[in-house]
């Protein structure tokens, strides 16, 4: 009896596999890749933060406090002879010789915290005003403050700045990859589909662009952006500069796929049945390679994020008052500030975690992209 069920089960499974659509096969294959799943979950939380940085912040990221510079991170106490939710207060005193604020943790004074606390005003998607935050100081009226990741040179809250930087850095990565994907799909597509002299011309262009070292070009182009431009304009210009050179890799990938697919039976069949070229490309060829494209795009985003960080770190990318991971790391540019306030390096940890998550996820997707293999 049991043997019989087993036989039926396997044949059911085999049936399920043979009738499953492409995306389902890809998903089954992807699910086996544990690490990639973890990467996906981590990325989900990062995107959540990037969507609502104000909600998770504890303080206005641009608000400076000249008497609160370089406060070290304050850890949260969750267990103190029972569930608790508070942090220890810090006491500051000015060093008589260096005139620098020096901070000590005061274990006798507690700063009570609470979930869904009321804090500074922020806007959901820039539309609705609210004062609710995920967590924060329980009674801000008493003038109590809490800095999870400490403060920077100007006494701005590092945690809140990090979260707002997440929004900018992640979106620059996504937008730049989006632009280069469009360029890559378009040029790689016509190159691979038509072949011949068009292919030749586009391939030479790609080879030329790929032989140019990108970093000096990026630096020179960013340096040429007028300093008077607004934050939003600079943001778009930097995105464009990043996308300008990186589309070539994707174009190559797409072209290679097209060259293979062009000879496939189903494409020939579509051609013989009188499909228009547009229909063949968009209805028959592109969906077959979509999983490959998604994998390539996922692997391109971290490269963009790192590049934006480089540019801003060197002072040629986004400029304050814009907040991005690179801009935040600019504060940690020399040994003096790092030795004085090591927590200024924490935005770098955010970069590493995000890039790791994206790379792991991208590798999983790439392995799953061809489920018939």
């Amino acid at each position: 009896m049991t043997a019989e069920t087993a036989v039926i089960d396997t044949s059911d499974a085999a049936d399920a596999i043979s009738v499953a659509p492409n995306w389902k096969l890809v998903w089954w294959r992807f699910k086996k890749h544990r690490l990639a799943l973890v990467g996906g979950v981590v990325l989900f939380f990062i995107i959540l933060i990037a969507a609502f940085p104000g909600f998770f912040s504890t303080q206005n990221p641009s608000e400076s406090n000249k008497n609160g510079s370089f406060i070290p991170p304050q850890s949260i106490v969750l267990w103190d002879k029972g569930p608790a939710f508070y942090a220890f207060a810090v006491n500051g005193a000015r060093n008589k010789r260096s005139f620098r604020m020096e901070w000590t943790i005061d274990p006798t004074k507690k700063v009570p915290l609470r979930l869904f606390a009321t804090g500074y005003e922020w806007k959901v998607f820039g539309l609705f005003k609210t004062r609710i935050h995920f967590f924060g100081v329980a009674n801000p009226e008493a003038g109590q403050k809490f800095h999870l990741l400490g403060t920077d040179r100007l006494g701005r809250d590092q945690w809140s700045r990090l979260l707002h930087g997440t929004q900018v850095s992640l979106s620059i990565g996504l937008l730049a990859v989006f632009i280069s994907t469009i360029l890559g799909l378009f040029l790689g597509g016509i190159s691979g589909y038509f072949g011949g002299i068009i292919d030749m011309a586009i391939q030479r262009l790609i080879e030329l662009l790929q032989s140019i070292p990108p970093i000096p070009i990026w630096l020179a182009l960013s340096a040429a952006l007028p300093r008077t431009w607004s934050v939003a304009t600079t943001y778009l210009a930097i995105t464009g500069i990043l996308a300008l050179i990186t589309w070539t890799g994707l174009a190559r990938e797409v072209r290679g796929r097209f060259l293979v697919l062009r000879e496939e039976d189903f494409v020939v069949a579509a051609k013989l049945s009188g499909c228009s070229q547009m229909r063949i490309v968009f209805r028959h060829m592109l969906p077959t390679m979509s999983s490959h494209i998604i994998a390539a795009v996922t692997l391109a985003i971290p490269v963009m994020i790192i590049n934006e960080t480089f540019l801003s770190f060197l002072g040629l990318g986004l400029r304050p008052p814009a907040i991005s991971w690179g801009v935040l790391l600019q504060e940690a540019q020399n040994l003096q500030s790092v030795a004085l306030a090591p927590w200024l390096l924490l935005p770098g940890v955010a970069v590493i975690i995000t890039v790791l998550a994206l790379n792991v996820l991208g590798d999983g997707l790439r392995d799953a992209a061809d489920p018939y293999h």
Binding site: L219, F313, L335, G348, V351, N359
Partner: protein
């Protein structure tokens, strides 16, 4: 082989021409001409320049003429070996970048050999002992190596060396050798300082190359010729090194084409953090100070290094892989 190299060499002038145009356009990119901004800068610092000198400068660079004439003047002077004068430093550009260029090349090549010396054994052992502790360890190491921006590694190491050991690790020379002419002592001093930037720059590349090698080698290890060689009694290590590694290494060599130029330009950021006397920090300074002829010369040096790097890898690849030179020769 010769045919292949000659063909590669023939593309060079064309590539250099295109690159010089790009470098020139970059010089032109900032709004306003640089003589005007230079005069304004002088005026701001209290000194001035008489009208005749200004006119002479304009004439020299052909600033009142169309762009292509300016390009032509620039490239002619460049070909005659005259890179011009840095307005910021008030020194000939050739003097400024000569020494730095040499150090950039030395650092790049050192990183390159370091990367291969580390990546090859890691890749081979990870593939032959797949799913062992060693393999997992280096998989994690590789992921982190790729995910960490080089300047982060530099900053963290600098910070650790400062807090734990109490030393500052910047520059490529000790102060007593910094401005000295080359001597044996200076070379030794360079050797004592270069390892840190070399390791920092190499980590990212090591991670990438080891991953490529591992994947390629895994494809080869299951092929029937391996069984055959084993059946004939070849020792495992000789077998691996003699056949699959030689095949798996080819894609690695073709990655040199982008890797060597990438080290040269990638060293820019680490060099800025560690304050190395290479051309990178100078480019940054000239770009921020709008010293555009210096910037143009440095960008062009980077392009030159990239072209040479690509050429070296092309020749290496043809030398290592008979299929490539045969294919090229039969055309």
């Amino acid at each position: 082989m010769l045919y292949y190299i000659v063909k590669r060499l023939l593309i060079l002038p064309f590539l250099l021409f295109v690159f010089s145009v790009i470098a020139f356009l970059l010089i032109q990119a900032p709004p306003g001409d640089f003589v005007t901004s230079y005069v304004a800068e002088l005026a701001a610092s209290g000194s001035s320049m008489d009208q005749i000198q200004i006119e002479a400068l304009r004439q020299l660079y052909g600033l009142d003429q169309p762009v292509y004439v300016q390009y032509f003047k620039w490239i002619t002077r460049l070909l005659q070996g005259d890179l011009g004068i840095s307005l910021d430093f008030q020194k000939p550009i050739a003097d400024l970048i000569g020494q730095r260029l040499l150090l950039t090349v030395i650092l790049g090549l050192a990183t390159f050999f370091f990367t291969f010396a580390i990546a090859l054994p890691i890749g081979i052992i990870s593939a032959t002992r797949q799913y062992s502790f060693f393999d997992y360890f280096f998989t994690v190491f590789n992921y982190i190596g790729v995910a960490t921006p080089t300047f982060m590694t530099a900053l963290i190491l600098m910070w650790l060396a400062f807090t734990e050991l109490g030393i500052t690790i910047t520059g490529l020379f000790s102060p007593e050798y910094a401005d000295q002419p080359w001597s044996f002592g200076r070379v030794v001093d360079l050797g004592k300082h270069i390892w840190l930037p070399m390791v920092i720059l190499g980590l990212d590349g090591t991670a990438r190359l080891a991953r490529i090698l591992r994947a390629n080698l895994l494809d080869e290890l299951n092929k029937p010729y391996m069984e055959m060689a084993r059946a004939k009694g070849l020792s495992e290590w000789r077998l691996v090194l003699k056949y699959p590694v030689r095949l798996a290494i080819n894609p690695l060599v073709s990655s040199l084409g982008w890797y060597l130029p990438l080290i040269f330009s990638g060293s820019l950021i680490v060099a800025t953090v560690l304050n190395l006397p290479t051309i990178g920090p100078l480019l940054l300074r000239s770009l921020i100070g709008q010293d555009m002829f210096l910037a143009g010369a440095i960008v062009l040096s980077y392009f030159g290094l990239a072209v040479i790097g690509t050429l070296i890898s092309d020749i290496l690849l043809a030398w290592l892989d008979p299929r490539i030179r045969m294919e090229e020769a039969s055309k």
